[in-house]
Amino acid sequence: MSAAGPVLEVRDVHTAYGLSRVLFGVSLEVRAGECVCLLGRNGVGKTTTIRSIMGLTPPSAGRVVWKGTDITGWPPHRVARAGIGFVPEDRRIFADLTVWENLDVAVRAARAGGGGFSIERVFDLFPKLAELTARQGGFLSGGEQQMLTIARTLMGNPELLLLDEPSEGLAPLVVDHLREQVARLRREGLTILLAEQNVEFSLELADRVYVLEKGAIRFSGPAGRLRDDEALRHELLAL
């Protein structure tokens, strides 16, 4: 594998929930150190793409290749151990566990190429969490929960972070703060695949963009192109 080659390749993935088909041949690539954004409206298959990569909803056809290894059909815990961190859209904090316990269950020993995250480093990134260690996850605000869910996934020392709609349902000020944290993670070398509806949020973070529509890739290109071309943005996302 060359240094510039993709770490994650999704090749022609088809995924269905029972009889309802959601993805119709999605292909995408993420290179090491990149922040790639998967844009699209509700229900186009962003979450399903992420779940297919993670093994939570295994694809019915197509391949998911991680650092040259075919991980299609692996159970989620093996995918996680291989270095892919999943931050779910609905946060899914363990409500009865304290903030510290939520972080502790996700701790995995650092792996070569991983970020070397520890509870201290995560608290440095999200200082608010350090004040709340003994609080139960269910009693956190939406913004605090979003920080905790990212922090929790970082405890597993992933090389690639799958972020599913992190800005959803958060107040504008909180979204700004979150964007800074994600930007910082990126600068520190983490590879990120971001699924978002919030175009502003994602275009500021992303290097490259894929636009999903009806379960297939409609557009792919550098984020700059969408940023600068309002007509294209309007055409693709009807904004």
Binding site: H77, V79, A80, R92, F94, E101, D104, V105, A106, G156
Partner: protein, 295 residues
């Protein structure tokens, strides 16, 4: 006003019954809370624990610690049996409708109960109390067998140990997290299917231990499996299925209601417990310390 000594004796015997029930119901409740499986065969594991302990006592014979080795051996044997059942059979049913799991564990009751009859017959068997606990002490005017005192102390000790395991160890945090969201826990790199097996093994161990420990206090008979599973269900329904302290509270309440209900309705003592369960189900369908199911 009845004699206070008598009341004390009644409540003590109710408490003893409660400690045994807690041993069984806590495993049942744990397995339901984490795996989402109502294991009807939990009572069969308890019964087999008693039979295996009996067998081991026969084998060990005159060894002064025979009973203790037998109890430990029986609990371990049942833990292994539980592990095999989960790994080889039950796990294929998780993805299926709950009805399949109920039918499977119900079928297991029938199979295990017939198997026990084939091996140990249908007569009553019994184990002698361990020699160090054969005596009795007078407490507040009541003669209390030492074995009963031992059970009264063991119950809270196991409850405390269990609680510490769930709340003060990493394995316990995994178990609590799996009960809340197993898919998320798996996506964080935890092998949830192995965790399920461990939980099932632990629950089975407690069932086997309960069976072995009750053997010196009660006769070992076919049918004890169904009797205990009904009681354990009432306990977890009262306390709240999946709630740890709820199970403890449910067991204590059950024991007291049963032992005092006998005084009021001597021939229908079980009636008072069912009445209590009905009241709890009407007022708090999720049990005293349980939580309403999320919809």
């Amino acid at each position: 006003m009845p004699d206070p000594t008598f009341l004390f004796a009644q409540s003590l015997s109710g408490l003893t019954a409660a400690m045994f029930l807690f041993l069984i119901a806590s495993g049942l409740s744990l397995i339901f809370g984490v795996l989402g499986v109502l294991n009807f065969a939990h009572g069969s594991f308890y019964m087999l624990g008693a039979y295996v302990a009996y067998q081991l006592v026969q084998v060990l014979g005159r060894d002064p610690a025979a009973f203790w080795w037998a109890a430990l051996g029986a609990a371990c044997a049942i833990a292994v049996l539980g592990g095999l059942v989960e790994r080889l059979l039950l796990r294929h049913l998780y993805a299926k409708d709950v009805l399949y799991q109920l039918l499977f564990t119900y079928a297991l009751i029938l199979v295990l109960s017939d198997a026990a009859k084939v091996v140990w017959g249908t007569g009553q068997l019994s184990i002698a109390r361990p020699p160090e606990l054969a005596g009795a002490t007078r407490v507040l005017g009541t003669l209390v067998p030492h074995y009963e005192l031992f059970v009264l102390l063991l119950g809270p000790a196991i409850a405390l140990g269990f609680w510490l395991l769930l709340h003060r160890t990493r394995a316990g945090r995994f178990v609590r997290a799996a009960a809340l969201d197993r898919e998320m826990l798996g996506a964080l790199g935890v092998n949830v299917s192995r965790l399920y097996t461990s939980v099932f093994v632990l629950g089975s161990f407690l069932a086997g231990l309960g069976g072995a420990l009750i053997a010196p206090a009660k006769a070992i008979v076919p049918g004890m499996d169904v009797e205990i599973i009904v009681e354990a269900f009432i306990v977890v329904v009262i306390g709240g299925l999946g709630s740890f302290w709820g199970t403890f509270l449910g067991a204590v309440i059950y024991g007291q209601v049963l032992s005092f209900g006998i005084l009021i309705f001597p021939r229908f003592s079980i009636f008072s417990v069912f009445a209590l369960m009905a009241v709890v189900l009407i007022l708090r369908p999720w049990g005293l310390l349980g939580r309403p199911l999320k919809t």
